[in-house]
């Protein structure tokens, strides 16, 4: 067996058609002989080229061709976000992309043989299909074999989010192969049975799945479905998802109305951060707790790759909306809760990397953590040295804002501690600086004029040794 097991990517072992592996630091894809006919046809017919030119499928170069395997090298994606880290809009677009690709494939005599949400990620401001081996030949009059997967990975979670909010996407962390249809059906309000699209694609599907779940000998006759009928399913799902909105959706726009300082102080903070970041000549920057990306957006013209993460799915959604509107190809927004970062998932806990692993691999040159430490420390009860340890795992330069006890937000967080307020006497600049100095070297500090906040620039001790 020639398979370089020790370097193969942990997320690709199920597909018999090929696998991803690391060649040094470069991620490549090996295609096994079993998939040669498909791959050659996909390539010769110009199918792959069209999808790649349209920016719907990740591009690749053919690295080597032998009888044993064909090696292709896909375009590098700096940071992979997973479905449970997407805002509603992102999830919706990823689903629409999958349907577009399936319909196009069908018109060219191919199908998507799986419709996993992990086949899509965000790159250059848009969702992109990343599994080049997901295509197979279409056999006349056969139903779409990945249909159920599309429902459990995309359609179900989206419809659930409409009724229960985008928090529901986190369920994909516990259900790596999609939310079971029966569970989706049970969580939807009764009125959804009145919608012909929801009734057939979810409730009826759940019923049929239970009915046929014990057909172990595969005795029931093989189902047939014309291409036109399949196109109808795809188009109706597309139309439905296109119009899908969150019930709880709040209006976008006033995120920074809630700050406790005036415009002048806001500008002063922006200027100061700019002055500090620009000389670092950063190629990669991450803003943690970066809201809708207001501060990170300042660096889009000078930093090659910018990532913004926030706990609030709505602000991430608003950020993504701006990325679409302004065509900001180097901005990537995603949802994460720093107090509970996405864990390693799947078989061996390694199929999907934990957030911290992905951040460490990404290796941002600059990490911004603005108006965040008081939430981590006071709302999350996380001691300074613990949050310092967290940032040190992936940050080279850490620019972190420290709101003093006199800051009105800190005051209100402290007041909420009631009789335990004295337990938080440690929350002051001296302790903060000392504990962060365990992992970082202090470069600069400066008070932000017009506020009770101080900006710190720390340099990671380990990453610079």
């Amino acid at each position: 067996m020639t398979k370089p097991i020790n370097t193969s990517h942990e997320a690709s072992f199920r597909d018999p058609c090929g696998y991803m592996f690391y060649d040094g630091k470069i991620l490549r894809r090996a295609i096994n002989p079993i998939y040669f006919p498909q791959y050659n046809k996909l390539k010769e017919s110009g199918f792959l080229a069209t999808l790649i030119k349209k920016g719907l499928l990740i591009g690749h170069e053919e690295t080597s061709v032998s009888e044993e395997n064909i090696i292709i090298t896909p375009e590098h994606i700096p940071f992979i976000t997973n479905p449970y880290e997407w805002s509603f809009e992102q999830f919706r677009h990823a689903a629409l992309l999958t349907l577009q690709i399936q319909k196009y494939a069908l018109s060219k005599g191919f199908i998507l043989k799986d419709a996993s949400a992990y086949n899509v990620t965000f790159h250059k401001g848009k969702p992109i299909f990343i599994d080049t081996l997901s295509f197979d030949f279409y056999v006349e009059d056969t139903p779409w074999r990945a249909y159920k997967q599309f429902i459990t990975h995309f359609f179900g979670p989206l419809v659930l989010a409409k009724y229960h909010g985008s928090e529901i996407f986190k369920m994909l962390q516990t259900h790596i192969d999609g939310i079971p249809v029966k569970l989706i059906a049970s969580m939807l309000p009764g009125k959804t049975k009145l919608s012909s699209t929801l009734y057939t694609n979810i409730h009826l599907l759940a019923k049929m799945e239970s009915k046929h779940s014990e057909d172990y000998k595969a005795e029931t006759k093989v189902a047939k479905l014309s291409k036109k009928a399949q196109n109808n399913i795809l188009t109706s799902l597309f139309d439905y998802i296109k119009k899908l909105k969150l019930n709880e959706e709040s209006e976008w726009g006033d995120y920074y109305e809630k700050t406790n300082y005036d415009d002048q102080a806001f500008e002063a903070k922006k200027q100061l951060i700019k002055e500090w970041v620009l000389p670092l000549n950063a190629q990669k920057l991450i803003d943690i707790g970066g809201n809708d990306g207001t501060f990170a957006r300042e660096f889009l013209s000078v930093v090659k790759d910018v990532i913004v993460t926030d706990i609030d799915s709505n602000s991430v959604g608003y950020n993504y909306h701006q990325v679409q509107r302004n065509n900001e190809g180097n901005m990537l927004p995603f949802v994460s809760d720093i107090l509970q970062p996405a864990p390693g998932l799947g078989f061996n806990n390694t199929e999907r990397n934990s957030l911290i692993e992905r951040l460490a691999i990404y290796g941002p040159d600059v990490t911004l953590a603005l108006a965040l430490i008081h939430h981590i420390t006071l709302s999350g009860n996380v001691p300074f040295y613990k949050s310092a340890e967290f940032f040190a795992k992936f940050s080279k330069h850490l620019i972190i804002e420290f709101p003093k006890r006199e800051d009105s937000w800190v005051e209100s967080l402290l007041v909420r501690k009631r009789e335990f307020i004295n337990h938080f006497d440690f929350y002051n600049e001296t302790n903060f600086r000392e504990e962060y100095s365990l992992f970082f070297q202090l470069e600069k500090k400066q008070a932000i004029s017009g506020t009770q906040r101080v900006l710190y620039h720390f340099k990671n001790k380990e990453l610079f040794n």
């Binding site: 199920r14 597909d15 018999p16 058609c17 079993i34 998939y35 006919p37 498909q38 046809k41 110009g46 069209t50 999808l51 349209k54 719907l56 677009h93 629409l96 992309l97 349907l99 577009q100 319909k103 196009y104 043989k113 799986d114 848009k126 197979d136 030949f137 056999v139 139903p143 074999r145 249909y147 159920k148 997967q149 429902i151 192969d177 012909s196 699209t197 009734y199 057939t200 694609n201 009826l204 049929m208 799945e209 009915k211 046929h212 779940s213 057909d215 029931t220 189902a223 047939k224 479905l225 009928a229 399949q230 109808n232 399913i233 188009t235 109706s236 799902l237 139309d239 296109k242 679409q324």
Partner: protein
């Protein structure tokens, strides 16, 4: 193309899901047809609003790339 083997699936497509697609397609067909009729009626009366979405249509336009392919 028929002499190529189709790759076996490494996940269960769900038998119920395979059978039910006929019914789903029928319902979708009726819905799409009635929507099509409504669209024609509305556009006759000038009631169609242009929507601004990156994902307007399920169909991928390919004229430009196809002609390019041929000249390669």
């Amino acid at each position: 193309m028929d002499n190529f083997l189709i790759i076996f699936l490494y996940f269960d497509p769900g038998l119920g899901a395979m059978i039910v697609q006929g019914l789903i397609a029928a319902a979708a067909g009726i819905l799409l047809f009635s929507k099509g009729v409504m669209y024609k009626v509305k556009s006759f009366f000038g009631l169609i609003k242009k929507e601004d979405d990156t994902y307007d249509s399920i169909d991928i336009e390919e004229e430009d790339t196809e002609s390019h392919d041929k000249t390669d």
